[in-house]
């Protein structure tokens, strides 16, 4: 009995919390979520099917009624794809909100919190897994776009920057979803609340229709809306149509502003979410 005690005390005091654990713990947690995707491939399938349907719907049904300048239907399809990409990374956030609420309302969160792991790793692991899924969806959506006539005109480095921007934004915005998820009482509420705030940002934007067609009182919101910035920046980088209404700041520096939004979202919501995780139910 006494030997067992001294042994375990040695074991205990040796591994002091290290920063490296945040990385290895995050990888362990994200591996969990990726395994989950392979076990429930339907979740990935429907995450893919929805944006693809939006592409087809707007390219062939609504698109004809929306004018983005010279080029007609072909120009609209080029206009549309960067918008759908922005919409997709927004909608993916609802998934993480539900996932986090579900975890938090089950015993597994207690298990995580009773382990000597880094508390932030539960969230970074989840958000990283969500990013990987997002990257896959963005890739498949881009292929769908190419199939309906969308093209990249500005060369490799601009396109790479555009994709980097989408990935950064996708990662940063999931932290908002995680933060919301930690405040929801159950996954039903999380499902509704997780979508509710996404709708105005996604649709009061330039992703489907040019800003010029909207009432003037709404235009400032639409212009500064991070989703519009992201779509406009991507259109610029890909060389797709960018019908502008003036020379306001967000219209002049969409790429810079998009990256600034990523940084801001991360700087605000990552610490908030980690704090909410630590204090939940304390």
């Amino acid at each position: 009995m006494s030997t067992l005690t001294t042994d375990s005390v040695k074991e205990v005091t040796a591994p002091r919390p290290r920063f490296g654990w945040l990385i290895t713990d995050s990888i362990s947690v994200s591996r969990r979520h990726l395994l989950k995707i392979t076990r429930v491939p339907e979740s990935l399938f429907f995450a893919l099917i929805q944006p693809v349907m939006f592409v087809l719907l707007f390219a062939f049904v609504f698109g004809g009624a929306i004018d983005v300048g010279p080029g007609g239907a072909q120009a609209y399809r080029e206009y549309l794809i960067p918008g759908i990409l922005a919409q997709t990374v927004m909608f993916a956030v609802a998934g993480i909100t539900v996932g986090i609420t579900e975890d938090a309302s089950k015993g597994i969160m207690d298990r995580f919190r009773s382990l000597p792991m880094r508390p932030g790793a539960v969230l970074t692991g989840h958000t990283l897994a969500s990013l990987l899924q997002n990257i896959l969806v963005i890739a498949i959506l881009s292929i769908t776009g190419l199939a309906v006539g969308w093209r990249i005109h500005n060369g490799f480095s601009d396109a790479a920057l555009a994709y980097l921007m989408f990935a950064s934004f996708a990662y940063a915005i999931t932290w908002v979803g995680a933060w919301i998820g930690l405040h929801m009482p159950n996954s039903e509420v999380a499902g509704t609340a997780g979508l509710a705030w996404i709708f105005p940002f996604t649709f009061a934007s330039n992703i489907f229709t040019p800003v010029a067609t909207m009432p003037s009182w709404l235009q400032p919101f639409v212009l500064w809306n991070p989703v519009s910035c992201l779509a406009l920046a991507a259109r610029q980088l890909f060389g797709n149509p960018t019908p502008l209404i003036g020379d306001s700041f967000p219209e002049r520096y969409p790429v810079q502003l998009s990256f600034a939004y990523c940084f801001l979202l991360l700087a605000i919501f990552a610490p908030l979410a980690v704090r909410a995780f630590k204090t939940r139910n304390k």
Binding site: S8, P15, W21, S28, G107, I108, S114
Partner: protein, 332 residues
């Protein structure tokens, strides 16, 4: 004597609802403490505070020599926790779950796999190891959950109602597993609503009710608080109840309690078995026929009833319909 768990004056309130009203708990190294009480008595709150999941409003506690409030990381590396529901990932297999928790315990990849295989084998889950948890029975989930809490070879194990909701056979299986752990010298804090569970597994018992410790001691000490043996006699006809009670009173150590409805007489006695012989003879001489006679030793149920004024069964019934809408904070 080394204390594995020491809590002093632990108090916690959720808004206006007092969950814990300043309780003291001490568990010696290598022993099992049973925390007994109905739903809402503060059992789970106590466990959550000791396992660093919850912060006490006041009071101090140390587990394995580490303070739960100021050294949570150290506490987490010496404890294992098994909650009321299986805290595992539904979509992963049993092995994947254990390996995940092993990695999060900072075992190497190799060690995590080895430990997982060891535990699966030990808990009789090797055959189901590579199947998803969704297909596991309730008993298997609980065993996996217990295995998960042992990943880090904890010195102190918290078992929060480990058999609630299990069928009698799985419960028996769970008890055997827990008894094994206890025999290896793990310190265990066990919460339960089942008196027989505390009786079976715990060295010492603390009875909680409404956030207060209302009794503590060994199972035998608690039983002796309610008094000694009683003889329960059921007579054939209702008319004989009062008569019989009068006739046998001389053998009792306290006044007999009679119940006409069930034709039962309860007589507290000092020397159980000789009293039975005397009673049978006396009633036979008086031509009173006996339907049933038995020597009853007090159970923990009796203890609980006499301490709280309500039986455990009642509280369980009350709690059942509320289970579905029970919020996180309303747990006992």
């Amino acid at each position: 004597m080394t204390l594995a768990i020491k809590a002093t004056g632990l108090a916690k309130a959720y808004g206006d609802v007092v969950a814990l009203n300043g309780i003291d708990i001490e568990v010696e190294q290598g022993t099992v403490l049973g925390l007994l009480g109905p739903n809402g008595s503060g059992k789970t709150t106590t466990v959550r505070i000791l396992a660093t999941l919850l912060q006490a409003d006041s009071g101090t506690a140390s587990v394995g020599g580490f303070d739960v409030a100021t050294q949570p990381d150290e506490v987490r590396s010496v404890i294992g926790l098994t909650g009321q529901y299986a805290a595992v990932d539904e979509y992963l297999t049993g092995r994947e779950n254990l390996e995940l928790f092993g990695r999060l315990f900072h075992l190497s990849k190799f060690d995590a796999a080895k430990r997982a295989a060891e535990l699966l084998d030990r808990f009789d889950l090797s055959d189901a190891a590579d199947r998803g948890i969704k297909g596991y029975s309730g008993g298997m989930r609980r065993r996996l959950d217990l295995a998960a809490s042992l990943i880090g070879r904890p010195n102190v194990l918290f078992l929060d109602e480990p058999t609630t909701g299990l069928d009698p056979r799985s419960r028996q299986g769970m008890w055997e597993v827990i008894e094994d752990l206890i025999s290896e010298g793990t310190t265990v804090l066990l919460t339960t609503q089942y008196l027989e569970e505390a009786d079976q597994l715990a060295n010492r018992i603390v009875v909680l009710d409404h956030g207060n410790v209302i009794a503590k001691g060994t199972s035998n000490e608690l039983k002796s608080q309610v008094g000694g043996d009683r003889i329960e006699i059921v007579v054939e006809s209702v008319g004989d109840v009062a008569n019989a009670a009068g006739l046998i009173q001389e053998f009792g150590s306290a006044p007999a309690i009679t119940e006409d409805l069930t034709k039962t007489i309860l007589l507290p006695v000092a020397g159980g078995s000789t009293a039975i012989v005397n009673i049978v003879r006396k009633l036979d001489e008086n031509k009173i026929s006996i339907a049933d006679i038995a020597l009853r030793r007090p159970t923990l149920d009796d203890v609980f009833l006499s301490l709280t004024g309500h039986a455990t069964e009642n509280t369980e019934e009350v709690s059942k319909p509320a289970k579905g809408r029970r919020g996180r904070k309303a747990r006992s």
